[in-house]
């Protein structure tokens, strides 16, 4: 049997239009892109050039239009007007398949891998012809040798860590011969060490003539690693410069429109006489008027926080240990699935709080007024109490959830990663609200993957790790030591 090349499994399918200008071609050029979603202008006449061989950071607050712009460049969203040029040639993108054919690849914030399949099978998805595991494995190891993205092609994706899954996503786009790699918030799920490694690999890719577009709101990542920077604010391009010409201050000013107010660290004083909740064993207590920070390695804090919040059993069951009748506010990490029902209105989502305890007739008029109050007081940008939760951006959803959970002046507020995915401004609002609640006597328990946030915000810290729970002062190195279980002479791990 003779398999012609066309019958073989193939990922390469490049075909690019003829150049229409002979200026030194940009790898990718967006011209006058405008996009409206209903009455909302997501992008307003944005033009952007991506040079070959560079890492280009695209910065902006949540909802500034970064992701929408890149989805247009990847053919997922159709622009209302504007042009896309690839190497100087006009590009017509009807679907991501067209973008992939033009050697543009995108790694989305939410991964699109199939957990039950192996790395090789995931990489092969979208290829043509016959699937041959050896061909794909060869391609993966070829990519590994040129970029340093090493991954076991036979591993099942379900068994991989977030960092490894991200590698697979990148390898997949490279296997489709992407020369322009768009990464949407790639560092959100990564630990410090993995972030460094990622950028090393991206640099190798760029040095070989590839282009990287890095959507991020982590200023430091952009400053440290990008060559070019563009900033979007409210759908408009407000800054576009080589990174040498930008500073942390100038970028912050461009992103926010004004310099953010620096906040001094104020600590609360726990009212030791007023124990609000205790869970365990091992027992952890929280008192009125304090913020208790929980430090833990990925996933380990969940059970502790959920038993504080009285949501220890999933699906069914009675509230967990602790006083009954305690007013508890809970801000879960997964807003879309656990905090809100996206298709219901904000008023209905407000009614969702304590829905299990409501009786008789619901006073919708009263709830609608309460919703308007939350919208106003927590600066939720929404068209009104009848807007669906889905129509809000992440930061606005989080402010709404926080406002809802604080609306009945809870005695205990439990938050999981409360500023994840939020920009500087939105995060600082959340911090202020937490402190204000603490100062009015609420006991607060929160978990954060960001040690800096934990140290800045918490009055007291407990570290969950290695099957034990230990107290710690809000001190980064001390927390780190306990997290990793490092024992020293003067600091025995109890």
């Amino acid at each position: 049997m003779d398999d012609g090349p066309s019958a073989n499994w193939s990922l390469t399918q490049a075909s690019i239009g003829q150049p229409v200008s002979d200026s030194p071609a940009n790898a990718l050029e967006l011209r006058g892109i405008t996009k409206n979603f209903g009455a909302v202008t997501a992008l307003d006449d944005v033009s952007l050039s991506i040079k070959p061989g560079s890492i280009h950071a695209l910065l902006g607050e949540n909802g500034a239009g970064k992701t929408t712009l890149m989805r247009i460049a990847f053919g997922m969203v159709k622009a209302d007007s504007g042009q896309i040029l690839r190497d100087g040639g006009l590009l017509e993108l009807r679907s991501p398949a067209d973008a992939i054919a033009a050697r543009i690849g995108m790694v989305h914030q939410q991964f699109s891998l199939i957990p039950a399949m192996t790395v090789a099978e995931n990489v092969a998805l979208g290829g043509k012809g016959l699937y041959n595991v050896n061909d794909v494995a060869a391609r993966i190891s070829e990519i590994a040798s040129t970029t340093g993205l090493t991954i076991d092609s036979r591993a099942r994706v379900a068994n991989l860590t977030s960092a490894e899954r991200q590698k697979v996503e990148i390898v997949r786009t490279l296997a489709h011969d992407a020369r322009i790699l768009i990464l949407d918030e790639p560092t959100a799920v990564l630990a410090e060490k993995d972030i460094g490694e990622l950028f090393e690999q991206l640099r190798v890719f760029a040095s070989a003539g590839g282009s990287v577009v890095l959507i991020t709101h982590k200023l430091q990542n952009a400053l440290d690693h990008a060559d070019e920077v563009s900033v979007l604010r409210h759908g408009k391009l407000v800054l576009n410069a080589p990174m040498d010409a930008a500073s942390k201050d100038s970028l912050t000013a461009a992103m926010l429109g004004s310099a953010p107010q620096e906040q001094g660290i104020t600590r609360g004083t726990a009212i030791r006489s007023r124990l609000v909740a205790r869970v365990g064993p091992p027992f952890v207590e929280v008192f009125a008027g304090e913020i208790l920070g929980v430090a833990a390695l990925e996933g380990a804090a969940g059970p502790l926080l959920r038993s504080f919040a009285g949501r220890a059993q999933t699906g069914s069951g009675k509230p967990g240990s602790g006083k009954t009748g305690l007013r508890v506010g809970f801000v879960p990490e997964n807003r879309q699935e656990e905090a809100l029902i996206p298709d219901l209105s904000l008023t209905e989502n407000l009614a969702l709080k304590n829905a299990g305890e409501r009786r008789g007739i619901i006073d919708w008029k009263q709830l609608r007024d309460n919703t308007s109050t939350v919208i106003r007081e927590f600066d939720v940008r929404a068209s009104g109490p009848d807007a669906t939760a889905r129509s809000l951006s992440g930061g606005n959803q989080q402010r709404f959830v926080l406002g809802r959970e604080l609306s009945d002046k809870p005695e205990l507020l439990v938050l999981e990663n409360p500023t994840q995915g939020l920009d500087v401004n939105a995060a600082s609002v959340v911090h202020q609200r937490m402190k204000a609640a603490r100062d009015s006597g609420t006991a607060i328990v929160f978990y954060s993957t960001d040690l800096d946030e934990l140290v800045d915000l918490a009055d007291r810290v407990v570290v969950v790790g290695g099957g034990r729970i230990s107290d710690s002062p809000p001190d980064k190195s001390e927390i780190g030591r306990l997290l990793l279980g490092i024992e020293t002479a003067e600091h025995p791990v109890a």
Binding site: G315, E338, L344, L352, K353, G356
Partner: protein, 304 residues
């Protein structure tokens, strides 16, 4: 007036469609995919007929109430089998309720040839129930009975329940997002969906009881021409809205009675109506999605 009797026939046929349609709409809104309205309806009809026959002489007029309540209880009990299977073993209710439909169908076959067969033992059906156990006729000289009023009242009640009450909101919440209902709302999802299942079964059972007390006055094998299955279409066309179920129930009833007339007068096969029904359901599902509102678990908002 022949026209009036045709209209009455359609509304008589609409009655079980509306009540069973409510059963399906209520379940689907609560995230319970009860495909078993047909079986629950048949079991309800059996209980209604049996109670009417046994307790009729002793209870007088009040036997009607007792019979209808028994029908609802029997429907709920039949649904409880599937609800238990789901709660204990995670058996998909879509599978279990369909299986229970077949069991109910053959249970009726057995009963009308055995323990419940009429005294002469000639026909595979029960004796006719006493006049006192029958639902009153509203329009004289037609079959239009009081059951239709019950159907309208029930639809309004469930519409009100969804719109204004805490329990109605909880049912909507667990249907739309069970995880958020539990985490944000502390709704006991398992318990609530169990109750939804029972209420749905009770409604379908009641539809069967009303059919016996209002139309057939006896239990026999082909008592239901698939009311429980058409009810799924009725609920979907109504967008799972209880008030909408009134309109779509009447619509389907007209379609089916009209099809019988077409077959009689013009030899057009009445199965043509089934084709039309199916097309309507598929179109309604697509339209609900296109209007950006998908039905949780069934359709999602259309993306371009």
């Amino acid at each position: 007036m022949p026209d009036l009797s045709l209209l009455a026939d359609a509304l008589v046929r609409a009655t079980p469609l509306i009540i069973a349609g409510l059963a399906v709409a209520f379940a689907f809104r609560g995230g319970v995919f009860n495909i078993g309205a047909e079986g629950q309806l048949l079991v309800g009809a059996t209980a209604g007929a049996a109670v009417s026959l046994w307790a009729g002489p002793a209870l007088g007029r009040s036997v009607l109430i007792v019979a209808l309540l028994s029908a609802a209880l029997a429907g709920a009990a039949w649904a409880a089998v599937a609800a238990e299977l789901r709660k204990r073993f995670g058996v998909l209710e879509i599978i279990s309720t369909i299986m229970l439909n077949f069991i109910a169908l053959h249970l009726v076959s057995f009963l009308v040839r055995g323990p419940l067969q009429e005294p002469t033992r000639i026909y595979p059906q029960t004796q006719s129930i006493a006049d006192s156990a029958r639902l009153p006729i509203i329009l004289p000289n037609t079959r239009f009975h009081f059951g239709f009023i019950i159907a309208i009242v029930l639809a309004c009640f469930f519409g009100w329940l969804f719109k204004t009450t805490a329990i109605g909101f909880r049912v909507r919440a667990i249907g739309a997002a069970p995880k958020a209902a539990w985490i944000a709302g502390k709704v006991d999802v398992k318990r609530t969906s169990y109750i939804v299942f029972l209420v749905s079964g009770a409604l379908a059972g009641l539809a069967g009881g009303i059919e016996v007390s209002g139309v057939t006055y006896a239990l026999y094998e082909n008592l239901s021409p698939g009311y429980g299955y058409t009810a799924i279409a009725v609920a979907l066309i109504a967008g799972l809205n209880p008030i909408g179920v009134i309109a779509s129930g009447i619509f389907f009833a007209f379609l089916e009675t009209g099809a019988l007339a077409l077959q009689r007068d013009f030899a057009i096969p009445s199965s043509a109506a089934s084709v039309v029904e199916a097309v309507f359901v598929l179109a309604a599902l697509a339209i609900s999605s296109l209007r950006g509102r998908g039905i949780p678990g069934l359709t999602r908002p259309a993306t371009r």
